[in-house]
């Protein structure tokens, strides 16, 4: 099999590259050629195609998301805002919380158990990469109608996946949502939130400074997970149709992730990490380009050193593999022995695969030949940005016409029907599959409006603080469909109220924006309106958005899901012992209705 090296790329400038098969547009490909001054190698194309994908580059949403920064209210609590793996908020007494919500929608439709499980795994690694100990998870779920056939496959699988992965990690599940609506039948939503705790002076960032520092890949070995597209690149000729597509399903190993958590915390404690990044959707491509771009700017990697689960993987596939439970760290040469010893204690494989340089280039070799030589920032930060056209959907006004509902004759029957409906029924079937007690700091969980955690015993050294944090997620696709601007605001208002009623002061917001295709101007309008609404409401309430995630293309054919912005709010309570549980706790108390 010929290796597509940089040398070869120079010799064969006109070779056809399968950029379209990898989801890249003609003009994007031309830009890559301009940046490099030649055609990209297969490996370079792998990197650019994945880094410039909607998922990693936010090319359709970026221009709108900026409002979260430009309209952001002043906040003293904000320590790290948007743009890092997760936002970090000062919660007082020297402690900080980091939290983020992320989607794993499509994989959860293909293989519900593994898709949902690896969704939890991914967000937990994001939180770890900030230097924090993950302390709880939440999940916000949308399924098709309870009576629709495929829901019987998707719902139990998703719940089992979240349950198994989260329980196995020893992270209490302190809340979430389950909503049924036929619009989600081919596109279930699985949004997972993780919150972590760290000392506010010990935040870690995804950066690779210091030439000579070592680049370490640690955690699971790399396999063929999620590299359907990359196999085109690895085939002998790009035209080779017969090349069987490698699997797209990623399988999670929560046991390995648990070891990774404990291993990372010990690495942080020993202070042997200069920079760190989790490996998410874009795997090694993403970790190397982002670390290099935010550091000194250069990195040299020998891809042959990446430990493989499947020895037949080609470099292009290694670059695009989505194998789970992997992290990448930058470590000084002096600390490398200590770093490796800690990994060994936790049975976590770790391998030095490269070095930080001051060349300003990310270079990679395979069998001694240079196969990647790019300015890392062009892949990580300078992806395409689209101003997608949008306009109000044709039927929007009609949706909002006032209809007079007849008063039902039989109130009893109506009540019974409501009580028996899927969306009002007990959530216990789901929540009883989640461990809400582990770690012993859960003050409130289901059925409370918000989850509340005690801080003092969550980490060594925190014993002095009386503080707690509260978290809630909310979202209502039906509201957002009627009016995405107001719908997003209502989601925020609800999560904000849910946090406030526990006695906590809301401090910060994360969000997961689940929409149909951005290439549909009507969907894009919903998106633009929702972001505008959320940004305005955050400004009014005085809480900044610290991070989040956009999930587009949740649609089957021309039918998109309801626009579904899911909002998570984090608050702080000064004395967690004074939290207010819901429910009437004694007889003869007065009942007061607040608000109008």
């Amino acid at each position: 099999m010929t290796l597509d090296s940089v040398k070869r790329a120079l010799q064969s400038p006109d070779e056809r590259m399968p950029f379209a098969e990898l989801g890249m547009k003609e003009d994007e490909y031309q830009r890559v050629k301009e940046i490099l001054g030649r055609r990209p190698t297969g490996s370079e194309l792998a990197i650019y195609s994945v880094m410039w994908s909607e998922h990693c580059s936010y090319k359709s949403s970026k221009v709108h998301l900026r409002q979260f920064a430009t309209k952001a209210p002043a906040s003293e609590a904000l320590l790290v805002g948007m743009g890092e793996n997760a936002g970090v908020v000062d919660i007082g007494d020297g402690w900080a919380a980091t939290f983020k919500i992320e989607s794993h929608n499509h994989p959860s439709y293909v293989e519900p158990h593994q898709g949902a499980a690896t969704g939890v795994g991914g967000i937990v690694r994001d939180i770890m990469s900030m230097g924090a100990r993950p302390i709880a998870v939440m999940d916000s779920l949308r399924f098709g109608g309870l009576d629709q056939h495929d829901t019987r496959r998707v719902l139990p699988g998703v719940v089992e996946g979240i349950s198994h992965y989260g329980n196995c990690l020893g992270l209490p599940n302190i809340g979430g949502e389950v909503v049924f609506d036929p619009c989600y039948i081919g596109n279930p939503l699985v949004n997972a939130l993780c919150v972590g705790l760290l000392r506010k002076d010990q935040i870690k960032l995804a950066t690779a400074p210091g030439p000579g520092n070592k680049v370490v890949l640690f955690g699971a070995r790399t396999g063929a997970d999620g590299i359907g597209g990359a196999s085109v690149l690895a085939s002998a000729t790009f035209e080779d149709e017969s090349q069987a597509k490698r699997p797209a399903v990623q399988v999670g190993d929560p046991f390995m992730e648990k070891l990774l958590i404990e291993c990372c915390l010990e690495l942080y404690q020993a202070d042997v990490v200069v920079g760190i990044q989790d490996l998410g959707a874009a795997g090694v491509s993403c970790a190397t380009t982002e670390l290099a771009a935010k550091g000194t700017g250069g990195m040299a990697v020998d891809l042959n050193l990446v430990p493989l689960r499947d020895p037949t993987l080609r470099p292009e596939e290694i670059l695009m593999s989505e194998s789970q439970e992997r992290m990448m760290a930058v470590v000084t040469p002096e600390d490398i022995a200590a770093f490796m010893a800690i990994c060994e204690k936790w049975d976590v494989p770790a391998t030095v695969i490269g070095e930080v340089t001051d060349s300003g280039r990310l270079t990679m070799t395979w069998d001694g030949e240079v196969i990647v030589d790019i300015p890392p920032g062009t892949a990580a930060d300078e992806g395409p940005v689209y101003q997608r056209p949008f306009h109000e959907p044709a039927g929007q006004a009609a949706l909002n016409t006032h209809v007079e509902l007849a008063r039902p004759d039989d109130l009893r029957a109506t009540l019974l029907q409501l009580l028996g409906s899927a969306n009002l029924s007990s959530r216990e079937w789901v929540t009883s599959q989640y461990d809400r007690y582990v770690r012993g700091n859960t003050v409130l969980a289901q059925p409370a409006d918000a989850g509340v955690l005690r801080i003092s015993e969550s980490m060594p050294g925190a014993d002095e603080t009386t503080r707690g944090i509260a978290l809630a997620t909310d979202g209502n696709g039906r509201y957002a469909k009627l009016d995405p601007y107001a719908g997003a605001q209502l989601a925020l208002a609800e999560a904000y109220r849910n946090v406030a009623v526990t006695g906590a002061t809301p401090l910060a917001v994360t969000n997961c924006l689940n929409f149909g295709s951005p290439e549909d101007p009507e969907v894009m309008w919903q998106f633009a309106e929702a972001v505008r609404g959320l940004a305005d409401a955050c400004k009014t309430l005085g809480v900044p958005v610290t991070g989040g995630n956009v999930s587009f293309y949740n649609q089957t054919g021309a039918a998109a899901i309801h626009p579904t912005p899911v909002v998570g709010v984090l608050g702080v309570i000064e004395d967690v012992a004074r939290r207010v549980p819901s429910g009437f706790t004694a007889a003869n108390l007065r009942v007061v209705l607040l608000g109008d």
Binding site: V110, E111, G223, D225, V249, V251, D253, F255, M256, D310
Partner: protein
């Protein structure tokens, strides 16, 4: 009475964390000769009457739709004699 055995294993390219955990544990237990371990499932289906073409076809359909998750698993089916 016929007994149809359905063996379900993860596809070779899919990560098998269970098998790996066992393989890693073996040397610690003093077993050094095993290069790799994969863990899968075994189902025993009891069918009344002899195994005919039809029962086998039905068993195959059961394996495909219920016993194996063909997104990530392969299955293999055979009849056990003298069940």
């Amino acid at each position: 009475m016929a007994r149809v055995i359905v063996d379900v294993m993860l596809k070779p390219e899919i990560l098998d964390p269970q098998g790996q955990a066992i393989a890693r544990a073996l040397p610690r237990l003093g077993f050094s000769s095993v290069a790799d371990v994969r863990q899968g499932k075994r189902f025993e289906l009891e069918l009344p009457g002899p195994a005919t073409e039809e029962t086998l076809a039905e068993a195959r359909k059961i394996a495909e739709t219920l016993l194996a998750n063909t997104v990530i698993e392969d299955f293999h089916l055979h009849i056990e004699e003298d069940a």
